[in-house]
Symmetry: C2
Subunit: 357 residues, 2 copies
DNA sequence: ATGAAAGCGCTAACAG
DNA sequence: CTGTTAGCGCTTTCAT
């Protein structure tokens, strides 16, 4: 490669044809308009010169940048890297590049980033940041920007999205606990302004009913974040204020579950002997902690790949209706759950011992 | 925003000035060439129309895309997300966007990705993929692409890079173990074709000498990857073939250390009672496993941020000589290390018990 | 099947 | 200070 890259014009000059012919050859869609002979020659010269199409120039002309923006709330949350990877794997193969933006969980940042991406003519956007009511999503819809949500949905609009089947995940967890004999089950949920937090909470309520497990509101608390701190706070609240005894805790996410684990340890309770805990998400290395976590494994990479496929489809057929893809998770059984051992009487006393640590 | 975005021309027409004047106003560098009055008017109109500069067009003209490519070998390795985040935080503030590419550890992919990025006129590249001899790096240098390496260096060229001070990290680890009374220390290293693997290995050797710790080649094995499997293989090899007893293992990375932990458990040895283990990198959640890992915490986000700063500097002053920034890590003491308890005699017998599990 | 010409939106000389 | 002009590299009518 030389200091300044070869242009279509140079290829044309050397081949002895006009620039537009070269353009036609180099563009798969118009290749057939040119005779075999000329095409071959052009291709040869282009290769010799190490010609690379300048996407800025062609994008300026065609208004397509072959660039996709991906917005992530927090790349250091282990949930997202595999999603990004899945997205990238697909998009790269299709000749798109991925512009990654990490909003660091700030909605203002998010807005600015989207604006920036749109200014840069991204062909479409994949958002992993969406809340149930999300102004940024509204904005994209208004401006008619091809959009796919991943791991999230919004309430109002019917936006194309690919998500985990959270109800099915909660079902797996409850079935597992139920088979182990648990039927007084506490719930430590996630923020209700996210579709995942909401869906898992709703699923817990409705499935408990369906499976004839007791539902007691005082042992159900939704945290304000998917974090260890929120998990600690929620379980502390339950243990301090509830009157209903329980033998298991369903957490809406592994981080919440870790927080719960801490609380039990602090209060001298043993997991799983005294209380079983389940997580959700199957974070990397979550099975290496002690006790290893019983949790729900979500196909994150697949989530990303499907999101990319859906976006490509949207780019090619913008008129098609949007749809939601739900991927099935699976249960990972770890050491954090075990058959319920304590008879009802004992549980009461144990509850007291928890309340007065 | 309307269907089609406002252009500089429209702003000019409405304001009653020429397009170039608008351009001058909108460009910070040339703003002062225009009178206050006109500038204000232009700005107002631009805001009203929701004007956003088209970076493709300006990039085509100026040959600067304000885009930076970031190449990562494996985003699902928890090492990299914080680096990417740091890069992004800085670059975003400076008006650059980050095109992320994950080579999935394949050199061919890496080559293709770089070519693609270069074709797209990225202003510069940050590579976290570099090997000690790296053809892609050579390529970038040849083509004179502003380049910064992060977490890696190459042997041959003097490429701007920002890395962890691995020697200092190993020093911290050895000091810690030495203070605990260990002086027969095994080493499970990483791949020697990476600068990190190599540096930690060299540091281990030289610092053992400096600190008067015994160095026995039969309890020093370098794995072929920074992975749990490689760690397992290496420690198994040591335990099966070595004759030198040891009371501690220094692993070049947390994943390797995890593999070592597995091997000990399989062989009925207890960490830290029988053998202390140290990791390197301070992976998220590594302190939640059992025993929690004594390891070296690397300022990953800072690594990324500094890489971004160095790249910006390179873009603005390409003539300045390249330099290497070394960031200081710190020691995190966990439960995987404890004072050496076994007297020498006992160690021998314990070695036998390891060899015949 | 190919060439000519125009223009995507912007910036940079050059005038004035 | 501001307008004129040209052109970045490519695609796309429209002719031929």
């Amino acid at each position: 490669m030389r200091k300044t890259r070869a242009t279509i014009k140079e290829v044309a000059a050397i081949t002895g044809v006009h620039a537009s012919t070269v353009s036609r050859v180099l563009n798969p869609e118009t290749r057939k308009m040119v005779s075999e002979k000329v095409a071959e020659k052009v291709l040869r010269v282009a290769r010799e010169l190490g010609y690379l199409r300048n996407p800025l120039a062609s994008g300026l002309r065609t208004r397509r940048s072959h660039t996709v923006g991906v917005l992530i709330p927090d790349l250091s949350n282990p949930l997202f890297p595999p999603i990004v990877r899945g997205i990238e794997r697909v998009l790269d193969k299709e000749g798109y590049i991925v512009v990654l933006a990490d909003s660091e969980n700030s909605e203002r940042t998010e807005h600015a980033l989207v604006e920036n991406l749109v200014a840069r003519q991204v062909d479409g956007l994949i958002l992993a940041t969406a809340h149930r009511k999300d102004p940024v999503v509204e904005e994209c819809i208004e401006h008619n920007i091809p959009l796919v949500l991943v791991n999230r949905t919004v309430d109002k609009h019917n936006v194309t999205s690919v998500i985990n089947d959270d109800e099915y995940g909660i079902r797996l967890v409850l079935q597992h606990l139920s088979e182990l004999g648990h039927d007084d089950i506490a719930f430590v949920g996630g923020p209700q302004n996210t579709s995942t937090g909401h869906a898992r909470y709703r699923a817990f309520l409705s499935l408990c009913k369906e499976m004839r497990l007791k539902v007691s509101r005082d042992i159900i608390v939704n945290g304000n974040a998917f974090s260890e701190a929120a998990g600690r706070a929620a379980l502390n609240q339950i243990l301090d204020k509830s009157v209903t005894p329980f033998t298991a805790v369903v957490a809406a996410n592994d981080l919440l579950a870790l927080g719960c684990l801490d609380v039990l340890a602090e209060r001298g309770l043993n997991c799983p002997r005294d209380i079983s805990i389940t997580g959700f998400n199957h974070m990397p290395f979550i099975d290496r902690i002690n006790p290893s976590m019983t949790t729900i494994s979500i196909p994150h990479t697949e989530l990303g790949m499907q999101a990319a496929y859906l976006l490509l489809e949207r780019l090619r057929h913008p008129e098609k209706p949007s749809k939601t893809l739900r991927l099935r998770p699976s249960l990972i059984v770890g050491g954090s759950t075990q058959p319920r051992t304590m008879p009802v009487k004992k549980r009461r006393s144990s509850r007291v011992s928890r309340a007065i640590p």
